[in-house]
């Protein structure tokens, strides 16, 4: 993840500044090369954040759905915190923890060369944290809907707890998991507050769709760019929501009617 050659960031920045002066100049097609770059970056940040959040979200959803332990209510609240906290606070907390001098950020850089501060990986981290509550909620509902008596039946038929999980629990909660992925991806594409406070808005590095739209809104001549990028955002978000709804409606064992 995100190991850049030295000077990679500055080069990107410099090349952007050059391009910035000609921004709005379209090189053919509906969207300019710069806009395509923004969309590409957004999709990359969204995809990486969703994939990274998926196992964490599933583990949390499973724990909250199935296990009873002291502190469960607290864990539930912590998971939901990014949903209600001002995003700028989440971004600030990420900066404290994952910044180059933060305890986690420092350790990760020292051991594996992973840097989050002011990198696209940091944007993905911020998006993952913000998408986590939504993903956990969707998955938890689908795990809770799995009848544990079916898992018991699997056990009496010779399945270990692990095999019962893989062959019964997981496939039966799969529609919810896929819906959570679509939802989390859509949420990641829209992430603004935590991202801008954590990794700022660096063109080509952390300037995702919402950040670029906000940036264009500040420019007198940015209106058409705002419109184009906003339409792309709406299309992506709507598509993901429809997909997630479609996935949730699909019940296992019902896909082939007789």
């Amino acid at each position: 993840m995100g190991k850049h050659p030295p000077g990679g960031v500055t080069r990107t920045r410099a090349s952007y500044i050059q391009r910035d002066t000609v921004s709005g100049v379209r090189t053919g097609g509906v969207l300019s090369a710069e806009e395509w770059e923004i969309i590409g970056l957004s999709l990359r940040v969204g995809a990486v954040s969703t994939v990274a959040a998926l196992p964490v979200a599933f583990a949390l959803a499973f724990t909250l759905a199935r296990r009873d332990f002291p502190g469960r209510a607290l864990l539930d609240a912590l998971v939901h915190l990014p949903l209600v906290l001002p995003p700028v606070v989440t971004g600030w907390a990420l900066l404290l923890l994952f910044g180059r001098r933060g305890p986690i950020g420092h350790a990760l850089e020292a051991c594996c060369g992973m840097v989050f501060a002011f990198r696209w990986t940091g944007a993905a981290l911020a998006a993952a944290v913000m998408a986590l509550p939504l993903m956990v909620r969707a998955m938890r509902l689908s795990i809770e809907a799995v009848d544990t008596r079916l898992e018991n039946a699997a056990r009496t038929l010779g399945a270990s707890p692990w095999r019962a999980f893989l062959t019964v629990t997981l496939p039966l909660s799969m529609p919810g998991i896929l819906a959570a992925v679509a939802l989390g991806f859509a949420r990641s594409l829209g992430e603004f507050g935590a991202t801008v406070s954590f990794v700022s808005s660096i063109p080509g590095e952390t300037r995702t769709l919402p950040l670029a739209i906000y940036g264009a809104m500040q420019l007198p001549a940015g209106e058409t760019q705002v419109l184009r990028l906003a339409l792309v955002s709406i299309a992506l978000a709507l598509g993901m929501l429809l997909l997630s709804e479609l996935l949730l409606r699909r019940q296992p064992g019902r896909q082939h009617e007789l």
Partner: protein
């Protein structure tokens, strides 16, 4: 001795105390609803832990409170036919039947899928999804799935419930055939005294 069971279990306000010593054939556990008959089957299957006592089936100890033995469900080789069948909704009938194949093969179980489906009359249902089955069909598939999992004994929980009146006799005849042809010990739970008297080699009232 097919079933040598002695156990106690406190479940809310219900206290289960039971002693079963039964030879081969069908051991029927009869009693009104709510006295914990299904809980007894769950304890024999390993899905519920008794407070004390022991459970032996065909000489093998599945649970012994004092000796600290408590085999997990997958190692008990119970063919459990649940009251609600509990077929896996995301698997076709044939995949449901094959679910326990792995344990059956490891235990060198004698039953073949073709043989069991013919015996149960479910050959025509193999490609169907569980939700398209009638109550009686689902019950027969559930019995087949239990038999094909390398079961050394059967646990039958009210196998005639959710089955049309017309189909009940068919299931009863089938259970008698299983008793006579496969010689598996069976623990059969019912609330119906007539059904109990009809089938029981050993009758246990609870």
């Amino acid at each position: 001795m097919s079933f040598d069971v002695q156990l106690t279990k406190q479940l809310g306000n219900t206290r289960i105390e039971l002693r079963i010593c039964a030879g081969p054939g069908i051991t029927v556990l009869v009693g009104p609803s709510g006295v914990g008959k299904s809980s007894v089957l769950n304890m024999v299957a390993g899905l519920l832990r008794p407070d004390s006592g022991h459970i032996q089936v065909s000489g093998e100890t599945l649970y012994d409170h004092r000796a600290g033995i408590d085999l997990p469900p997958e190692q008990r080789h119970a063919g459990y036919v649940f009251q609600d069948s509990r077929l896996f909704p995301h698997l076709r009938v044939i995949e449901n039947l094959r679910y326990g194949e792995r344990r059956a093969r490891a235990g060198k179980s004698a039953f073949a899928l073709e043989e069991i489906s013919a015996l149960l009359g479910i050959e025509a249902l193999l490609q169907r999804w569980p939700r398209t089955l009638s109550g009686g069909e689902a019950r027969r598939v559930a019995i087949g799935r239990a038999l094909l999992s390398g079961a050394r004994f059967l646990l039958l929980d009210e196998p005639l419930s959710f089955v049309d009146r017309a189909r009940r006799e068919e299931i009863l005849r089938l259970i008698e055939r299983l008793r006579d042809e496969l010689a598996l010990p069976m623990l059969y739970v019912t609330h119906d005294p007539d059904e109990a008297r009809w089938l029981a080699t050993t009758l246990v009232a609870i």
